[in-house]
Symmetry: C2
C-alpha cells in the first residue's frame, strides 16, 4: 500500500541528522505546524535564497537521487556563501510523480548528508504529487551590514575567482554522452563536480570584512560577472590567461575549448568577488586560512559590461554567455 503524504514526511524527512531538533537555538518550531518559527539573534540579518530544480531541465531524467539531493542543497548554500552568510536551515517543496520508496530513501539520505555537513537542517516545506521538481529555500545569518552584495564592486578593485570553473560544464558533456573517451577517474571527477559542488561557505564568511562584491558562478563566469558589472555600474576586465583551468579540462579539450568552458559554463558554484587591489595579501591569506584556492583574474574599471582580454591585451569575443531558462539572452 503506498504511503500517505504524512507518513512519507515522517518516515523519510523527520529524521535525526536531517531535521532541526527541538533544542535548536534559532529554530524554536520546525516541521509539523502551520508555520515554522525562526529566531534571529540581535545584530544579525537573515539571508534567504530559493531555487527550483526541474527534472529534464536542471538535472537528467533518472538522476541518482542521493547525488541529486546533495547537489540541490549545495547549489542553494552557494547563494548563502556568496552573501557571506552562515547556514541556518532550509525548507523543501518536493513534487513527486509517485511514491517510490527506494528513491525517497536515497534522496532523503543525500539531504541528510548535506544538511549534516553544512549544519543546515530541514525545518519545513511541502510534499505533493506532480512532475518531479525540487524547490529549496535556504536561510542563513549574517551580521547586519556585512552581507556581500553584487552591487558593491568599485573601480580599482581586483577580481578573484575561487577554485576552477568549467568542470560542471564538461560533466554535462559527459552526461549527454558527448565525451566518449573519458577515463574512469575523469568520470569520477566530473560527476563530483556536477553533483557535489562545494558551496564556498567558509570563504564567503572569511570575505565579509574584505570583499566589496561577491556572486556565485551558476550561469557561467562571464554571465555572472556581467551581473556584478551591471549592478555595480562598473566595467569588469578579465584576463583570459589568468583564468585557472582544471587539468581535467585540458586533458579532455583543447586549450581554447577549455577556456571557453571556464568562461561560459555554469553550475560550478565557485565564488567570484572583488576587493580593493591593496587588499591582495589579505585576500590570499584569508582564502588560504580556509583552504580555498583563489585566483586574481581581472580588475574593475569605470564603465560597463565585461571585457575579456587575451595575452596581448586584445579583446576576445565570447559568444556563449551563459544559460537562460527561456533560451534567449537579452
Amino acid at each position: 500500500m503506498p504511503l500517505s503524504e504524512f507518513a512519507i514526511i515522517k518516515q523519510y524527512f523527520q529524521q535525526s541528522g536531517l531535521c532541526a531538533d527541538a533544542t535548536h537555538a534559532n529554530i524554536p518550531l520546525g516541521i509539523g505546524d502551520d508555520c515554522a518559527l525562526l529566531s534571529v539573534p540581535a545584530g544579525q540579518q537573515m539571508a534567504v535564497s530559493m531555487d527550483v530544480l526541474v527534472e529534464g531541465v536542471h538535472f537528467p531524467l533518472k538522476a541518482n537521487p542521493q547525488l541529486l539531493a546533495q547537489r540541490a542543497l549545495a547549489v542553494n548554500l552557494s547563494d548563502l556563501a556568496a552573501m557571506g552568510a552562515k547556514p541556518l536551515g532550509f525548507t523543501l517543496g518536493l513534487t513527486l510523480p509517485s511514491v517510490d520508496e527506494n528513491w525517497l530513501a536515497d534522496f532523503s539520505q543525500g539531504l541528510r548528508l548535506s544538511a549534516h555537513k553544512y549544519q543546515c537542517p530541514l525545518f519545513g516545506g511541502n510534499l505533493t504529487r506532480g512532475p518531479l521538481q525540487i524547490c529549496i529555500q535556504v536561510h542563513g545569518l549574517v551580521p547586519t551590514g556585512k552581507a556581500l552584495p553584487r552591487s558593491g564592486a568599485k573601480p580599482g578593485d581586483a577580481v578573484y575567482v575561487s577554485g576552477t570553473t568549467g568542470k560542471a560544464g564538461l560533466a554535462l558533456d559527459w552526461l549527454k554522452g558527448a565525451l566518449p573517451a573519458a577515463t574512469p577517474s575523469q568520470i569520477n571527477e566530473l560527476e563530483a563536480a556536477y553533483y557535489l559542488p562545494e558551496p564556498r561557505l567558509s570563504l564567503g564568511e572569511a570575505l565579509r570584512d574584505i570583499a566589496h562584491a561577491a556572486q556565485d558562478v551558476s550561469d557561467g563566469l562571464l554571465a555572472d560577472l556581467a551581473h556584478v558589472a551591471l549592478q555595480s555600474q562598473v566595467q569588469i576586465v578579465v584576463e583570459a590567461e589568468a583564468i585557472p583551468l582544471a587539468p581535467v579540462l585540458l586533458d579532455c579539450k583543447t586549450r581554447a575549448e577549455a577556456l571557453l568552458l571556464a568562461l561560459t559554463a555554469g553550475d560550478d558554484y565557485e565564488l567570484v568577488f572583488t576587493a580593493s587591489a591593496d587588499k591582495h595579501e589579505q585576500i590570499m591569506a584569508s582564502a588560504s586560512a580556509v583552504n580555498v584556492p583563489v585566483t586574481h583574474i581581472g580588475s574593475v574599471l569605470a564603465g560597463s559590461g565585461v571585457l575579456v582580454l587575451d595575452a596581448e591585451g586584445q579583446a576576445i569575443q565570447i559568444t556563449h554567455k551563459g544559460y537562460d531558462h527561456f533560451g534567449v539572452t537579452t
Copy 2:
C-alpha cells in the same frame, strides 16, 4: 522574440506594488542578488510556510492566472494567520512551460493585488522552465512566544471555527461540471470561495493572547482538527448541529450532503482554534472587533482523535476525512 528569464522578472515581477521597495524597513535587500536580506525586529520571531501548487493537482488546467495567483498567495497567508503572524513578504518559485505574456501579465497582476492587499511584497525567488508549478514561501512576524501552535489545545477548551467551511469543496464540484443547476450568483460565490479565500490574518493576530491552539482548514475541518488533537494529545468532540452551513451549500445540496462538505472538504482556509471555555465572551468580542464571524462547534477532552456527535449525542461515522496528495489516509 520570447523574453529572457531576466527580462520576464524585470517586466512582470519587479514592479511597484508587487515587489518590496528599497525603503522597506524589514527587507533591506530584495530581488536581484544571490540572497534577499530580512531584518527581524527585537522581540519578534519569523514565521515561515511553503506551499507548492501543481497544475492539474491543486488547480484546474487553464485556470484564470489572475485568480490563481491571488489564491496561491492567500492560501500561504492563511498559514501565517493560523500562527497569529503578520505578513512580512514572500518568495516565489515559478516554473512555466513557455513564455506566455498574457498569462504572465494576468498572473503578476493577481499577485500584485494580493501582495498590496495583505501588505506582503515579493522579495525573491526563482523563475524556470518546466511543467507549471507555483511554489510560494510566506514570511511573517509574531511576538516571541505568542505564536499559536497546533499543540496547545487543552482539555476543557472550547473549539471554534471562523466563517463557514465546505464552499470551496462545492466549488470544486462546480469546476468539475458536477453542479449543472447552479445559478450565476451561486457560481460567483463558489468561484470566490475557491479562488479568493480570505486569509484570516486579523483574526489570527487578535487570537494571539487568547487562543491555545489554531490551524487553518486546508485539508478539511475534521482532518485538520485531527492534526490539532494528535499534536495536542487530546480528544476533540465536534457537535454536528453546531457546524455553520453556508446558505449556498443548503441551496445546492441536501442538509446531510452540506454537512459532509462542511466537515470534510478542504480549501476554505478558515481558522479552527481552541481557547479556555471561560474566554468565550472575549473570543466573541475579539472576533467581532475584526469583523470575522466565529462559531463555537465543540470541546476538547482528555483522550485522542476527533469525534462528531449528532443532535442526540450519538457519534456519527464520517468516511471521507480529507485530502491526501498520495491518495491514502493513514
